[in-house]
């Protein structure tokens, strides 16, 4: 990451692997439940071990539902060249659903149930020129 002058909006959400980006969640060593983002403990009341360890999530999922964020969110959100964007809820398997921005797909082409691939994209450039990345989902097969 260092020499490319880029960083993620938040540390500890995404890991860049040689095969592409993966979300970093937790898997509980006690009950096997997968969470995103990483958890301090395990909220499953039936779990007695409460032993979450960091785990990479699958890099694909299916779209469960979506919307378009039509209004610019409050300033904590930053995006260069703001315009409305798609937000999706993606089923990652094992009952885990993750929200994220969609990219590379037009609203008219979005279909619930479509297969999506995890990607990273810059949201904005910091004052010192660092590209600030977030994770997004794009139709599988279109990602570079």
């Amino acid at each position: 990451m260092g020499e490319a002058a880029e960083r993620f909006v938040v540390e500890g959400l995404v890991e860049q692997t040689p095969a592409g980006p993966r979300l970093i969640g937790s898997r509980c060593g006690g009950c096997g439940t997968t969470y995103f983002p990483q958890k301090a403990s395990c909220p499953n009341p039936a779990c007695t071990d409460k032993a979450p360890v960091a785990a990479l999530l699958p890099d694909q999922g299916t779209l469960y539902s979506y919307t378009v964020q039509r209004y610019q969110p409050p300033p904590l959100f930053r995006m260069d060249g703001w315009e409305p964007y798609l937000l999706g809820l993606v089923d990652m398997g094992e009952g885990l659903q993750v929200m994220g921005m969609l990219t590379g797909v037009k609203e008219q082409e979005v279909r619930i149930g479509m297969t999506l691939q995890l990607v990273t994209e810059p949201l904005y450039c910091d004052d010192d020129g660092t590209a600030v990345l977030t994770y997004k989902f794009t139709p599988a097969g279109t990602a570079l």
């Binding site: 909006v9 938040v10 540390e11 500890g12 959400l13 439940t33 997968t34 969470y35 995103f36 983002p37 990483q38 301090a40 909220p43 499953n44 009341p45 039936a46 469960y64 539902s65 979506y66 919307t67 378009v68 964020q69 039509r70 209004y71 610019q72 969110p73 409050p74 904590l76 959100f77 930053r78 995006m79 964007y85 937000l87 809820l89 009952g95 885990l96 659903q97 993750v98 929200m99 994220g100 921005m101 609203e107 619930i112 977030t134 994770y135």
Partner: protein
């Protein structure tokens, strides 16, 4: 537990009140509730207030203390409870327990709120890192609250073929109900066309399908049988009263989280459905006995989905119920005869107490202009941040 009765309720009209501090709204709501109950401050033996994060409370959420220091320094317990948008329900639950236990005979529950403009901002005091969901949802994807409701609404369209028009009809019904309620902020009728012509906020939800924020205050005074008899008012009993929190595996898209861990067979919005179920059990009644439901309609989707989650009818049937007029005043189950959050705007901590006030007036036959004919059983349901849910059943 001994029986507990709703002695009286009072509310300051909802709106934007730049000239009135939060404390003033609280005092006016309490004064109205005392008049309604036919008692004076000296008879109030305890005050439970919903703690606001926006104004008042000396920075510590001490809203009950602020009220008694302003108007009645009489040594009574001041209990301040948090619960975000469900705080009013938790205040009522607490007041109920104080009277039901026999320790006190008259206890008031109060919520008063002045809201900042626009999208509710992230509260101070949390770390700017991945441990805080409310940080993540902003910086990583800019997901506003309406986006969460829209994702639910879109999924409903996929599963139940809910039409844009039916979603618009929900807003039109709320506004029609509010037309006769002097406490509601938005009382002009709107048509389905008006709703669909309003700006899209988060597809499929338009501006008129999303609750705005408002200032408002409401208070409910609970008391023993002796006090309700003395008041000469109709005896309206708190037949069921419960609060709850979320269940592991709940599929709801819970603000402000960015993921859900979904498990088969776990109720959607379990913090509220759990409270509703517990209130039904305490009251010893079921959905078929309820004449009116005052529920948190943060969006038009809630009007369709929530009664289904509570067991009033099958999933997907809400569309038909609405289209057939069965959810209107005079229908099978009047939903939000007050006009709901869509017509009031949400004054977060006060909202649940406004719901209970509305049910009380309905059961007394005093809901002038929006009265549900011969209402005998009314229920409330509310949701708050942190997976807080609350529900109250009043009967006469």
């Amino acid at each position: 537990m001994r029986p507990v009765y709703a002695l009286g309720a009072g509310a300051h009209p909802w709106g934007k009140w730049p000239e009135k501090p939060q404390l003033q709204l609280a005092l006016e709501a309490m004064s109205a509730a005392l008049v309604d109950a036919g008692i004076v401050w000296a008879e109030v033996q305890g005050l439970v207030a919903a703690s606001s994060r926006f104004e008042g409370g000396m920075g510590w959420g001490l809203h009950a203390n602020e009220v008694v220091q302003a108007v009645a320094e009489q040594g009574i317990p001041c209990i301040n409870v948090g619960g975000a948008c469900a705080a009013g329900a938790i205040a009522l639950q607490t007041a109920h327990a104080l009277v039901a236990s026999g320790q006190y005979d008259v206890v008031a529950a109060l919520g008063a709120e002045r809201m900042p403009k626009g999208f509710i901002p992230r509260p101070p005091g949390s770390a700017d890192d991945r441990s805080d969901n409310d940080f993540l949802r902003w910086v990583a994807m800019g997901a506003t609250n309406p986006a969460y409701w829209a994702i639910e609404a879109r999924r409903r369209q996929h599963e139940h073929r809910t039409s844009e028009r039916t979603l618009a009809q929900a807003s039109a019904l709320m506004r029609r109900n509010a037309g006769g309620n002097r406490l509601a902020r938005y009382r002009d009728p709107i048509s389905e066309e008006d709703v669909l012509a309003s700006p899209m906020v988060a597809d499929p939800l338009h501006l008129l399908q999303i609750c705005p924020v408002s200032d408002g205050a409401a208070a409910v005074i609970l008391g023993s049988e002796e006090f309700v008899r003395r008041s000469g008012k109709a005896a309206v009993r708190v037949a069921g009263c419960a609060v709850g929190s979320g269940q592991f595996g709940d599929p709801a898209r819970r603000i402000p989280t960015i993921s859900s861990t979904v498990r088969e067979g776990v109720a959607h919005t379990s913090e509220v459905t759990g409270a509703v179920r517990a209130a039904f059990e305490l009251a010893g009644i079921g959905p078929e006995d309820v004449d009116l439901l005052e529920m948190a309609d943060n969006s038009a989707w809630h009007i369709l989905a929530w009664p289904e989650l509570f067991g009033f009818y099958e999933p997907g049937q809400g569309d038909w119920m609405l289209e057939q007029g069965k959810l209107a005043i005079g229908g099978e189950l009047a939903i939000n005869p007050s006009g709901g959050f869509l017509s009031f705007g949400e004054a977060t901590t006060a909202q649940a107490l406004l719901q209970v006030s509305e049910v009380l007036w309905q059961l007394r036959g005093e809901a002038h202009g929006h009265q549900v004919p011969d209402a005998k059983v009314g229920m409330t349901a509310v949701l708050g941040l942190g997976a807080n849910g609350g529900s109250v059943i009043l009967t006469r």
